[in-house]
Amino acid sequence: MTTATTTWRGVASEEQDELPEKVSVLLRARSRRLLGDLLSPYKKSIAWLTTVIVISNAAGLAIPYLVKVGIDEGIPPMLHGGGPATMLTVVGVILAAAVTQAVTRQAFLRLSGRIGQSILLELRRRVFDHFQRLSLSFHEKYTSGRVISRLTSDVEAIAELLQAGFDGLVTAVLTMIGTAVLLLVLDVHLGLVALVPLPILLLFTRWFRRQSAIVYRRTRETVALVIVHFVESMTGIRAVQAFRREPRNQEIFKELNDGYRGANASSMQLIAVFMPGIKLIGNITVGGVLIYGAYLAFNQEVTVGVLAAFLLYLRQFYEPMQEISQFYNTLQSAGAALEKLSGVLEEEPDVPEPRDPQPLPQGRARGKVRFEDVRFAYVEEMPILPNLDLTIPAGQSVALVGATGAGKTTLAKLISRFYDPTGGRVLLDGVDLRTLDEPTLRQAVVMVTQENFLFSGTVADNIRFGRPEATERQIREAAKAIGAHDFISALPEGYDTEVGKRGGRMSAGQRQLVAFARAFLADPAVLILDEATSSLDVPSERLVQRALRTILADRTALIIAHRLSTVEIADRVLVMDRGEIVEDGPPDQLIAASGRFAGLHQAWLDSLS
C-alpha cells in the first residue's frame, strides 16, 4: 500500500497548463485583449443588449412595487365602497409589465445567445487555424493531447459560461442592484435595516469564492488522474491482462477514486455550509424587517403595502447571491480556458509565411536542391548539422545512410521546411525556401514518413488528400502505380471502404501503401521518404520497391532507410555521421571501396542469410 501511494506515477516535469496558482476573475492583459477583439464586431448589438436587459429587469422589479401600490391605493377605495377602478388600472399595469418582461427577456436571451455562439465560432476558427499555422517544432513540444484539449474542453468551458452562466450572472447582478435601490426608495429606514446584512453577505461570499477556487482545483486534478488511469487501463487492457496487472491496477484505481471522492466531499461540504448560510442571513433579515416594519406600520410610518413589497423584494435579493456563487466555478474555468487559448494565439510560427513570396523560375519546380553552409541546432550548444554544403541535381535519387542521431531526418525536415536552418540557406531551384509561399513549396516537396496517418473517410478520400482536385481515375492510376490497387479492390467496398478510426481497419503495411499512393498522386518534384518502408513486410516492401523505380524516375528523391535494400535503387548514397557527410558516391562504387558503407552493407547482407 505504501508503494502505491507515492511512487508508481514517477516524476515528470510540471505540466505547463495547470490552472494558474492564483485564480483571479480579473484576466491577464492578453486574455482581455482577446476578449475585446472577439467582442468588437458586436458593439452595436451589445448596446442593444444592455438596453433590453435593463428594460427587462426594470419591468420585473416593478411588479412587487405595483403590488404594493395595489394594496395601498387600490384596496382602500374598495373598502370604502368605491369602485375597483384604481385596482383595475394597477392590475392592467402589472400585466403590461409582465408581458414587457417576458418579451424583452426572450429578446435578450436570443440576442445574447447569438452573440455568444458567434464569438464561440470565431474563437474555434481562430484557434484551429492558428494551430495549423504553427510549425512542427511547436507541435512536437506541445503534444497533440494538449492541442485537442485546447480545442475541445477549453472551448467548451467558455461555451458553458456563455450558455448558462452569462445570462444568470447579468440578471442576478442587475436584480440585486435594482432591488437595493428600490428598497431604499420605498422607505429609507426600512431599506437600511434590510441592507444591514449586506457587508456580512459580501464577506461570506468572498470566503466561499476563495474556498471554492481551491476545492475546484482539487476536483479537477483528482478527476484527471482517475480519467488517465481509467483510459490507459482500458486501451492497454491487453498488456494489463497478459501481465496479471489487475490487482495492482485495482489498488491504484481505488486510491485515485478515493482521492476524487475526497475532493467532491469537500466541494459538497462547502456548498452545504454556503447555501444555508445565505438562507440564514436572508431569513434573519426577513424576520428583522418584519419586526421593524410592523413596528413602523404600527406607528403609521410605513404602509402595509410597503411592508408586503419589502417581503417580496427581499426574496429576490438573496436568491441571486446563491446563483452568482454557483456560476463562480463556471466563470473561473472559462477564465482559465481563455487564458490558455490566448496564450496559444500569441505563439508565433517558427516557420513563418513569407511577406513577399518569390515565384519559382519557369513557374514550376524542377527539383534542384541546394544546402549552402547550413547549420542547424535544436539546442544552441549542440548543433545537429554544424555546416553542411550539398547540391542534389534535379531528378537524382539520393539515399541517406547513417546511425540514429546522425542528422538524416533533420536534413529531410529542412528540405520540407518543417524547420528553418539556424544558419545558411536551403534552396529549391535556386530560390530560398523561406521566400516560397506555402502552396508552391508543398506542391514541390512532399515527405512520407513512417507515421502514415489516415484520416477518417474512404480509401479514395485518403489518396485524394494528396491532390484534392484529382478524378476517380487518377486515384486508381496512382494506386496501381504503387501496387496498392489489388488490396484496395479486395476490400469490402473497394475504394469507397471507410478506413475506420485512424485507419484502424487496415494493417500497418496497407496504411503505408495508401500513404504512398497519396504522395504519388501529389506528384511533387522532390519526394522525401523517411523510413517509409520500415513497417512493411517483405512482400509489400518488394512491391513498393518495384513501384519506387517508376515513381522516382523523373523526380528528385531523398530516401532514408536502415534496411539497405531500399538504398540500392538510389543513384547516389550519402553516409552521414554526426551531422557531416563522410561518404558520397554511387552505391556500387562505395560498396567496392572499403569505407563505412561497405561495412554497413556487409553487415546487412549477413543479417539476411
Binding site: 506515477r9 514517477g10 395595489g70 455562439q117 497478459a242 410592523a294 506555402e438 508543398r442 515527405m447
Partner: protein
C-alpha cells in the same frame, strides 16, 4: 442499486426528516407575516409583535439549519455510492476479455464511469429529494391556499398546469437538441483529433486550408444547432417568467375584491402573494427534475449494460507447480463472433520445453491471433491449447499468465515510472533482475532519462521513440521470467545495430525458456530452432530455416528479401 445504499439507511431517513422539517419551516414563515400584519399592525396589538417576530427568526434559523443538516448528511451516502459503483465497474472491466474491449471504445467506457455515474449521483443527491419535496410543497401550499380562500387557491393551482405541461414538452425537445449538439461536437472533436495527430501529414502536403474547410463546416453545424437550442430556451424561460406574474396580477385583483367583500383579510392577501411566489420554483423545476430522472434512468441502464456483461473468459481452477513449458496447439481454430471466415483453422504445433519456434506468415495470415491464444487473451473456437498436457482453460488465469509472457509489436506504456512499467508483471523483481532485463533489451537509455528509472513515461509523461518503446516492452516481458515467452514482432522498429545486440542477448533468454517468435525478417527467424509457416490461417510447413528456404517457394517469397530483386547480388541465394 439497493445493496449499494444499504449501509446508509439511517442517514437516508435523517435526510428525509430534515427535508420535511425544512419545508414546514419555509411554509410557516409567510403565515407568521400574515399574523403580524393582521394582528399587531392592523389591530394595534403591539405586545404580540415581539414574540411573533422572534418566532419568525427562530423558524428562519431552523429552516437554514435543516438545509445545512440535510446537505451535510447526504454527502457520505451519495459519494459512497458513486465511488463504490465506479470501483466495481473498473474491476469488472478489467475482467472482461479482449473481445469485449475490441468492441468498445475506451471513450464509451469512460463516459459510463464518469458522466453517467455523475448523472446518477446528481439525481440521487439532488433530483430525487427535490422531486418528492417539490411535490410535497406543492400539495401543502395548494391545500393551504385553498383552505384560506378557495377561489384564489383554485386559481393558483390552475396556473401550475400550463407550466408543468410546457416544462415537460420543453425538456423533451431540449434533451433532443442537446444530444444533437453533443453529437455534432463529437464530430468536431474527431476532426480536431485528426488535425492534431495528423499534423505532419497535413503539413507535408500543405493541406491546411482543406482541413480548415472541413472543420469550419462542422463548426457551423454546431453553431446552427446551438442557436436552435438558444431560441428554444429563450422562449421557454420567457414563458416561465410570464405565468407567475400574470397569476400574481389576477390574485391581486380577485384578492382585493375579496378583501373588499370581507371574505379575506389584508394580511391574508399579503401572505397569499408570498406563498404563491414560493410555488414558482417548485413548479418550474418539476419538468427539469423529471427530465433529470429520465436521464438518470438511461445512465443507469448504460452502466448496467456493461456490468451485466459476463466475462467470456473464465478462470479455471488448476495450477502448475513446476511448469516445464511444453506448449501444444491441438487442432486449434478461431473465428470472430458473427464471421464465417475462420482466422485460424486446424492449427497443430508442438513446442517442446526450451525450444523456440518462429512463426512466419504474410500480413493477415493470423499470426497475432495465434499469439493471443496462448495467454488466453482470446479463446479458440475449436481445438485446444495445452501447457504440459493441461488445457489452458483448466488453469487459473493468474497461473497461466505467470507461465506465459508476451511482448507485443505495438507496446503499451502507461503514465507511470519506468520502473512501474517494467515490473508490470512482477512487482517483486529485484534491482539486479531489473538491470539484467534492461541489459537484455538494450534499453540502457532509461538510465539517461531525467529521473532515471523514476521518470514518468507514457501518454502523460516523457514521450519515447518507437524503438525505445519496443525495447521497454521486451524488457518487461523478459523481466517476468516466464516459462513461455511470446515475442510478437517485437524488434520491427529497431535499427540494424541495436537489433543485432538485442538478438544476441535474447538468444540467452530463449535458451532457458520455450519461445514463440513472430518474425518478418530472416535475422529474427534465426533466433528460433525451427520455423512454422502460417498461410491462410493454418500451419502449412514446419522445419528449419534453411530447409524451408530451399524447399518452400512461399517461404522464400516471404523472407528472402532480395530473392528477385537485384540479380547482381547473387550472393543472397
Amino acid at each position: 442499486m439497493k445493496s449499494y445504499l444499504r449501509p446508509y439507511v439511517l442517514r437516508l431517513v435523517l435526510i428525509w426528516l430534515a427535508a420535511m422539517i425544512g419545508i414546514g419551516a419555509s411554509i410557516t414563515l409567510p403565515l407568521i407575516s400574515e399574523q403580524v400584519i393582521d394582528g399587531p399592525v392592523l389591530h394595534g396589538d403591539q405586545g404580540a409583535l415581539l414574540p411573533l417576530g422572534l418566532v419568525a427568526l427562530g423558524v428562519g434559523a431552523v429552516e437554514a439549519f435543516m438545509i445545512f443538516f440535510r446537505r451535510w448528511v447526504q454527502i457520505k451516502p451519495v459519494l459512497g455510492l458513486e465511488t463504490a459503483i465506479r470501483d466495481d465497474l473498473y474491476e469488472h472491466l478489467q475482467r472482461l476479455p479482449m473481445g469485449f474491449h475490441g468492441d468498445w471504445q475506451s471513450g464509451q467506457l469512460l463516459s459510463r464511469a464518469t458522466t453517467d455515474l455523475s448523472t446518477i449521483r446528481r439525481f440521487l443527491g439532488f433530483g430525487m429529494l427535490f422531486l418528492v419535496m417539490n411535490i410535497l410543497q406543492l400539495i401543502t401550499v395548494t391545500v393551504l391556499l385553498l383552505n384560506k380562500y378557495w377561489p384564489l387557491g383554485l386559481l393558483v393551482a390552475a396556473s401550475a398546469v400550463p407550466i408543468v405541461v410546457v416544462s415537460l414538452r420543453f425538456e423533451k425537445r431540449y434533451i433532443r437538441i442537446s444530444r444533437q449538439v453533443q453529437d455534432q461536437q463529437g464530430d468536431l472533436a474527431t476532426l480536431v483529433e485528426e488535425s492534431a495527430i495528423g499534423i505532419r501529414t497535413i503539413k507535408a502536403f500543405g493541406r491546411r486550408h482543406h482541413v480548415f474547410d472541413n472543420y469550419d463546416e462542422a463548426a457551423l453545424k454546431v453553431y446552427g444547432s446551438s442557436l436552435d437550442k438558444v431560441r428554444l430556451s429563450a422562449k421557454f424561460f420567457a414563458f416561465l417568467g410570464l405565468i407567475p406574474n400574470v397569476t400574481l396580477a389576477l390574485v391581486l385583483l380577485l384578492g382585493s375584491l375579496a378583501v373588499g367583500s370581507g371574505s379575506l383579510t389584508l394580511g391574508g392577501l399579503v401572505a397569499f402573494t408570498t406563498l404563491m411566489l414560493q410555488l414558482v420554483w417548485p413548479i418550474a423545476s418539476l419538468g427539469h427534475i423529471l427530465a433529470m430522472a429520465q436521464e438518470a434512468m438511461t445512465s443507469a441502464d448504460r452502466v448496467m449494460e456493461v456490468m451485466d456483461t459476463v466475462p467470456a473468459i473464465e478462470s479455471g481452477d488448476r495450477t502448475i507447480d513446476t511448469p516445464r513449458g511444453h506448449l501444444r496447439f491441438e487442432g486449434v481454430g478461431f473465428s470472430f463472433p458473427g464471421s464465417d471466415e475462420p482466422v485460424l483453422h486446424d492449427v497443430w504445433l508442438d513446442v517442446r520445453p526450451g525450444e523456440t519456434v518462429a512463426i512466419v506468415g504474410a500480413t493477415g495470415s493470423g499470426k497475432t491471433t495465434l499469439t493471443a491464444l496462448v495467454p488466453r487473451l482470446i479463446d479458440p473456437t475449436e481445438g485446444r491449447i495445452t501447457i504440459d498436457g493441461q488445457d489452458v482453460r483448466d488453469l487459473t488465469l493468474p497461473a497461466l499468465r505467470s507461465v506465459v509472457a508476451t511482448a507485443f509489436e505495438e507496446p503499451t506504456l502507461f503514465s507511470m515510472s519506468v520502473r512501474e512499467n517494467l515490473t508490470l508483471g512482477r512487482l517483486d523483481a529485484t534491482e539486479e533482475e531489473l538491470a539484467a532485463a534492461i541489459q537484455t533489451a538494450q534499453a540502457m537509455f532509461v538510465y539517461d532519462l531525467p529521473w532515471g528509472l523514476d521518470t514518468r513515461i507514457g501518454e502523460q509523461g516523457l514521450s519515447l521513440s518507437g524503438g525505445q518503446r519496443q525495447r521497454l516492452a521486451l524488457a518487461r516481458a523478459v523481466l517476468s521470467k516466464p516459462r513461455i515467452l511470446v515475442l510478437d514482432d517485437t524488434l520491427s522498429a529497431l535499427d540494424v545495430e541495436t537489433e543485432a545486440l538485442v538478438e544476441e542477448a535474447l538468444r540467452h533468454v530463449l535458451r532457458e525458456a520455450t519461445g514463440i517468435v513472430v518474425a518478418h525478417r530472416a535475422s529474427t527467424v534465426l533466433l528460433a530452432d525451427k520455423v512454422a509457416l502460417l498461410r491462410d490461417g493454418t500451419i502449412t510447413h514446419v522445419g528449419r530455416h534453411n530447409e524451408l528456404l530451399a524447399e518452400v517457394p512461399e517461404y522464400r517469397e516471404l523472407l528472402a528479401q532480395d530473392a528477385d530483386f537485384d540479380p547482381s547480388e547473387g550472393a543472397l541465394r
